[in-house]
Symmetry: C2
Subunit: 357 residues, 2 copies
């Protein structure tokens, strides 16, 4: 994949969770070459320093016009770098995006509000021959597939990274696992299922949330089948979404049944009590043990639990890890602390037992 | 709901399973007044006689032009009465639909192929001021809702009719149960979730399959909340879709979690071995006992099992019923044979135990 030069707009939110699209792009993307971040609150700093204290050589400019005034290279795209509850475009983003288009940038947008449905953006894009790429816009049905059973021809073992809740670190754990596998000589590929995965440029996958329900099972199957045919990998990893019993949008059985996935790595946040977005009504996250039993009823085995460190001290995390490992009898890891190398023997055994070559 | 006069086009398929949309309309609809069926193979007969041997006073004409030549009343709509694998419009339907439009009928279509995307239909509709109603066309996002937790304000007990597979009789059992409840003084309402339910004119619900995944949980919640507010019922019944472990499109947890449904009636076809559409790869339907355990893990109790009679003799059905009732310890019914009155005490107890007034 040729990397397209891009600037990313966060407009005052670079240091907040709302900028998770930007954060994902800064952590690594094969789709874009990130030239700069546009954020008036952090102008003059390095975007990586704001993200996690490590400079990345990505400068922050106060505005799109400042970026161009500094005689910087021409980006192909300006990416909306935030995701907000409700999915609306913040009003103060509009003028920056218009400025970017005036400087001949096409736009990439992962919000629920589509720029291509907005008269002002649409008119200007047509006038200047630019693209408005609304990545959550449902794809036309002619591009989508129904499930047809071809998954049963795929002999490559599959592991899904599922979670006890949404926004808990599934994609990051999945990426870590893919990288660790490759470092240890296991040719692993990853199927993305969220918009950040798309932005990061994985070649196989689809955006689960913005797919019409009829085609979810077929798109999962097709992504796995195509990945298997084109990459001939040793292992296919699948980024999960949400959680099986999350009332805000239960999800997970689709991967296990339609993708015929037999192995699961389960991401858990011991510091979180309620499903995200249900704090006002109090829907408790179930126990890890009951989730493992539930996953078992879908014919898949949980190989390991990985922990999200949110809101916990190092001491608390050590205690969670000890307690869960004793209770569950499977490896419990802290990916951000220790990496995921301890999973490699588990993965090797899973591949051996599930028909891998 | 004012019934709109309509003719239904099956074009040679009236006696096949493919005409299930037409069959649903003949069984009863509050949305349409069915004036005639158009089917060249059964011209001159009564549509009800072809359906199940009982005349309904709905004549069959060989063609749309024959219908109008016989000086019949003007229909508002012509409904495509078939659903086909792949969802394409059969080529020989086209000329009949064009004839219907020439006679000033708007069209109603539940196929995956949208008439409004077809230049010929679209041009003629605009010219004549007619409507092309593609009921599977995803609704605009501005009409859709995210889940927000308002389901927890609904005190009315909810029962979902789930199934061991798709196309197994969930909607019919759900309708029977609603009617039986009403006959016994329980004011029950039904939430539709499929296109036939829409065609039959239930006021609350949405078409699950053609909804973008992001909004499924919110649409379930909204349908229940609105039904509760507007009808103030004693019981809300929810038509399920597919089956929890159906690889062609697993479904069910959405109703239980996002709709916070605590009671389930489980539809089962003892004569069916594999999930429909998986016969070529052989995905066996799980046991009823394991399905009940799985539903239990989502916090809901299976109150009764209802049986689909497909491919079984009366004697075999009696044996299935005896065996399952002994094994499961809950009522097992044959709705088409005995009705669902035996469920009424179970429903009453469920309402008493789940906060109904």
């Amino acid at each position: 994949m040729k990397k397209e030069p891009a600037i990313v707009l966060t407009n005052g939110m670079l240091d907040s969770d709302n900028a998770k699209t930007c954060h994902g792009l800064l952590r690594g993307t094969d789709r874009f070459e990130i030239l700069a971040v546009i954020d008036h609150r952090f102008a003059g700093e390095d975007a990586g320093t704001i993200l996690d204290g490590h400079a990345l050589g990505v400068p922050v400019y106060a505005s799109v016009n400042d970026y161009f005034a500094a005689d910087n290279p021409q980006p192909t795209y300006c990416v909306v770098g935030v995701a907000l509850p409700g999915g609306l475009l913040p009003e103060d983003f509009r003028s920056e995006l218009i400025d970017a288009m005036q400087h001949n940038c096409s736009l990439v947008n992962g919000l629920h509000t589509f720029l291509s449905d907005d008269m002002e953006f649409d008119t200007l894009a047509k006038e200047k021959g630019l693209i408005l790429m609304d990545i959550r816009k449902p794809r036309p049905r002619t591009e989508l597939s129904f499930w047809n059973g071809s998954i049963f021809e795929v002999k490559t073992p599959r592991i899904a990274v599922l979670g006890m809740d949404c926004a808990i670190g599934k994609r990051t754990t999945c990426r870590f696992l893919m990288e660790a596998c490759r470092e240890h000589g296991i040719q692993a590929e990853m199927i993305f299922t969220g918009q950040t995965g798309w932005m990061q440029g994985y070649p196989h996958g689809f955006i689960f949330d913005s797919t019409v329900n009829d085609f979810i099972s077929g798109e999962i199957e097709k992504a796995i089948v195509n990945c298997d045919r084109e990459e001939n990998p040793d292992l296919i990893l699948i980024e999960g979404q949400s959680a099986l019993r999350n009332p805000t949008g239960p999800c997970g059985s689709e991967f296990l049944m339609s993708g015929q996935v037999k192995g699961v790595v389960l991401q858990h946040a011991p510091g979180r009590e309620f499903h995200e977005g249900t704090e006002h009504v109090g829907c408790p996250i179930p126990t890890v043990a009951s989730e493992i039993a539930l996953i078992g009823m879908y014919g898949a085995e949980v190989l390991a639990v990985t922990l999200n460190e949110m809101g916990q001290t190092d001491e608390q995390m050590q205690e969670h890890q000890r307690r869960l490992e004793a209770e569950l009898g499977i490896p419990v890891l802290r990916p951000l602390k220790e990496g995921v190398d301890r999973l490699i023997p588990v993965v090797r055994q899973f591949i051996d037992e599930n028909g891998g070559e």
